[in-house]
Symmetry: C2
Subunit: 345 residues, 2 copies
Amino acid sequence: MSVTIYDVARRAGVGIGTVSRAINDSPQIRPETKKRVMEAIRELGYTPHTMAKRLATKRIGIIAAIMPFYTGHFYHELLRGIQKALTEFEYDLLVHFVDRPEKLRAYLDRTLSEKRCDGLLIISMDIPEEYVDKLQHARLPVVVVDRGHDRLDCIQVENEQGAYLATQHLIRFGHRKIGMISGNRHSEPAKQRYEGYVRALNEDGLAVRPEWFVSADMLNATPDIQQNDGFNIHAGYAGMHRLLALGDDRPTAVFAASDILAVGAMRAANEAGLTIPNDLAVIGFDDIELADYLSLTTMQQPMYEMGKLAVDRVMEKIDSESDEVRQFRLSTRLIERHSTQPIGS
Amino acid sequence: MSVTIYDVARRAGVGIGTVSRAINDSPQIRPETKKRVMEAIRELGYTPHTMAKRLATKRIGIIAAIMPFYTGHFYHELLRGIQKALTEFEYDLLVHFVDRPEKLRAYLDRTLSEKRCDGLLIISMDIPEEYVDKLQHARLPVVVVDRGHDRLDCIQVENEQGAYLATQHLIRFGHRKIGMISGNRHSEPAKQRYEGYVRALNEDGLAVRPEWFVSADMLNATPDIQQNDGFNIHAGYAGMHRLLALGDDRPTAVFAASDILAVGAMRAANEAGLTIPNDLAVIGFDDIELADYLSLTTMQQPMYEMGKLAVDRVMEKIDSESDEVRQFRLSTRLIERHSTQPIGS
DNA sequence: ATAAATATTGGAAAGGCTTCCATAGCGGAA
DNA sequence: TTCCGCTATGGAAGCCTTTCCAATATTTAT
């Protein structure tokens, strides 16, 4: 029914092996022969059968990405980096969005029981221990993105260092009373950023006051506030309210563990009649689109690079078959805008 | 090397056909035989080879989605719907983000020359005429989402009707001077929404004043303002500035062709000292996450349903092999919040 | 008990490609 | 002219399923 290499071979007066070599840019073929084959291919309108090829080569040409069902700039940029790199390898991207942890298990089971991709990118998700074993046993190349891992390859941003720099930035500008608003404390990035915040404060001998730290899980457990692991606008808003309730004892500057938290926080502050940065300085983390628009000082994460690196690494693993595990850490960059300024200026 | 059905067949003491039947829940097998086979499968740790299966069945189990590289709630929800439906069919989703129209061509060429999916969803994109022919000729099931099309199956929201209802809502609240801020005029949704806006005005005998209509392409061609086809926060901001420059002659209410435009517009209005909804009413279109947060009245698009419907339809086409072309239109719903209120209340 | 109908089963063939090995063709060295 | 050592070529075998048809086992009807 459809045109196969046999048809092409007959038409070009060559063997099927030669046709295959012509298609795959093998050096083992005379240029003129190749030309004749290519001509036959064009005449017959031949297109290679992808599945047959995959069966024969055992290469699928697909990388799967599993990621949480969050929206936002972070994933957008990450995907852009992934896509860019993948296109260069002529690989396709299979995405699977996950909204609940059980779904991750289900998907991993399916991926492991049917080989549907050559490699896997697990983004912003914690991997149940038993699946780490399964993944390693199946020898499926995996790169964990936006989370650290000791037994799997991983790529993450220097969260601790970034938070340290952000807090230091506020200290440099003369702030002594520095609060932090965070997503759920138990999430990996939240923990690391908290540590960086504390380190910067300690280094300058500033107080780490428990009441100046608010995280989403400390607030009402409304679905709004818990979504996206507590990194959402509502948590930022409610968190800031909590800080403002402290009255005169409130922080004069706030490090928000993500830009979207900062946006909610700024809104609460504005509504309370505070102007930013005069009455309150705010620094975020991520550098989302809205940050530029609202002139929010923030720590930029190299998301695009992270995506690219993740793909490069997983392709490397696919090719090498080596079991070596490598951890990558990318650094953040301070983007100064107008939500922070030297005190008294 | 790897375990195949032959190994399973030998172990279970049956033929390979029987193994295949056991795996695929064929009714043509005795329950006890099936049990024996399943046992052998477990013992050997057999997993079916996906590519071989695909070669044999000519079913790939993948739907590809091509979509623009926009971020935002709209695509988020759409993907959620797509994913949900696909999971039910046990199909995978291949996504390809496109940032420039040439890329669309390149991807379509690749998709057409190698059969890498069973069906295609083309989202929010205009399809070059020549590719319409190619797609039809290749008999690849295609559903166009968020755009109309006369020769291909398509699913879109009732843009005209939605805009009509939005404008009518403003009129009902007593507004007579109603402006509109839009993305690029040449984009399909922008055109349709403009028509709805005009229809509502005409119906009530209100003036359609050219200076009350601003679209992204009428503004400075900075990259910021042109991104996302003019449906972005910067265009909303600049557009509102333009309207405010009209002084006393400015509209008292504005229909923004998307929520994100409305957000920019509201910001400009706030900065100019106007309060919403008292000094200016604003209605958006989309119902993005931020709309709820900012209490923006808007027209909600059934994006999740759209995604689900798109998948259902493309699966239907895959199964039926019929060439029938169907157009779907989903209606929008008014979500009243606080950015609009009856005049004088 | 026996024929007829039905339910199960086995395995060859098909699906379309890559790869490997044997063979053919070629130019240059002896 | 005869070999040798390359490169280029042909095509069988292999990748792993599904499917179809023939063969066998089991029921059911008589």
